[in-house]
């Protein structure tokens, strides 16, 4: 076989590594390095760090994810630089038997078109996902403009965490299944719920611990099963009629913390347990429209 010299093109190698970490190394005839670079990128990426972060205290989540993002970008950049430099050194280069166009295309398709989408979908469906809050229905605890991480290892087969009273749950809106809603679960299947005035009773026990009234409304501290949170009522609210119901089997009773500005079970009925997809865990960004970033809220763990 006649040996032909195929010098490596540095810009070509760099572009290939830009498209897929390790791809440029494959072009340079370094398959082992290509595989390790791809594995490091994939496993140590944001997704890998998200998996780690989910098993650490919630307060650590944001910093671990930021570290994961920086590590991912660093590995990506390193791959590009390494491919460029290696290609520059290989101006006398004999193609190896496996360096065929079909191999390159197959590697690209398997990694970019298959592995990456499958991994990201798995993580966002089953581990952790990010949600943006465009409404005020959960104030004062969650503000409009907050972006939070939700734990998806929740309320599912094989999950260790089931829906509890007091959880801030994200669920599919019953009247429009293309939308997600976020509300607090106050009652579980079989619970008796009564709402009278500003007080909520669950199984004949009032949730109200303390009520602080002001001219604009009242701030009520509620508690159930050892957990505590704050809800707000506007003074101008018309007194709604009392609600008395028993939560049907397989359903939950949800309320927004901003009781006067929330569409919840009082409006659209109980929420099926199977529609609850995640539990709000931590705020990772917060900015109201046309305002500054609310730095103080970054990293806030949600009760």
């Amino acid at each position: 076989m006649q040996n032909l010299n195929h010098p490596r093109k540095p810009l070509f190698a760099l572009t290939m590594s830009f498209v897929l970490p390790g791809f440029g190394q494959l072009y340079n005839g370094e398959p082992n390095k290509a595989i390790w670079l791809f594995l490091c990128f994939t496993l140590l990426s944001t997704l890998g760090m998200a998996l780690i972060a989910l098993y650490l205290p919630a307060a650590w989540m944001l910093s671990v994810l930021v570290a994961g993002l920086l590590l991912t970008l660093s590995i990506w950049l390193y791959g590009m630089i390494d491919a460029w430099r290696a290609a520059r050194r290989k101006q006398d280069y004999l193609l190896q038997g496996w360096q065929l166009s079909g191999v390159y295309i197959l590697a690209l398709l398997l990694c970019n078109a298959l592995a990456f989408p499958l991994l990201i979908n798995y993580f966002m469906d089953h581990q952790v996902a990010s949600f943006r809050i465009p409404s005020t229905s959960m104030e004062p605890g969650i503000l409009r403009g907050d972006i939070l991480f939700a734990d998806k290892r929740y309320n599912c087969h094989g999950c260790k965490t089931s829906v509890q009273r007091g959880d801030i749950a994200i669920f599919t809106y019953p009247n429009n299944r293309t939308l997600y809603y976020i509300k607090r679960v106050v009652a579980l299947p079989g619970d008796r719920v009564r709402i009278g005035g500003h007080t909520v009773w669950v199984n004949d026990k009032p949730l109200t611990v303390q009520e602080t009234k002001s001219p604009s409304g009242s701030l009520v501290t509620e508690s159930i099963d050892g957990r505590q949170w704050q809800v707000q009522w506007k003074a101008a609210d018309k007194q709604a009629s009392d609600i008395v119901l028993t939560v049907p089997p397989g359903h939950t009773f949800v309320l927004g913390d901003n009781r006067s500005a929330s569409k919840d079970t009082r409006n659209f009925g109980t929420v099926p347990l199977q529609d609850i997809v995640g539990k709000a865990r931590q705020v990772w960004f917060s900015m109201a429209a046309q305002e500054d970033v609310r730095w103080g809220r970054l990293g806030r763990v949600l009760e």
């Binding site: 195929h6 944001t46 966002m124 996902a129 943006r132 809050i133 465009p134």
Partner: protein, 74 residues
Amino acid sequence: MNKELNSLLESGLLSVPDDFTERVMRDIRAAPLPAPRRKWRERLQWLALIGSAVLGASELLAFIFGMWAATAAY
């Protein structure tokens, strides 16, 4: 310096081994020839790379930043 040059001249010419020519030609033949450069082939490779770069890079960015892409929850 003249003395050194004179001593070199007196030592005689180097003797070339018999198979010297064969060895040199064998090494020359083994060295890779430059691959013929076909511009259309190179252009095709760049076209393929740029085309796949657009799709591949978007998948890659979706992978890197997918965790941070937020869905609205009302």
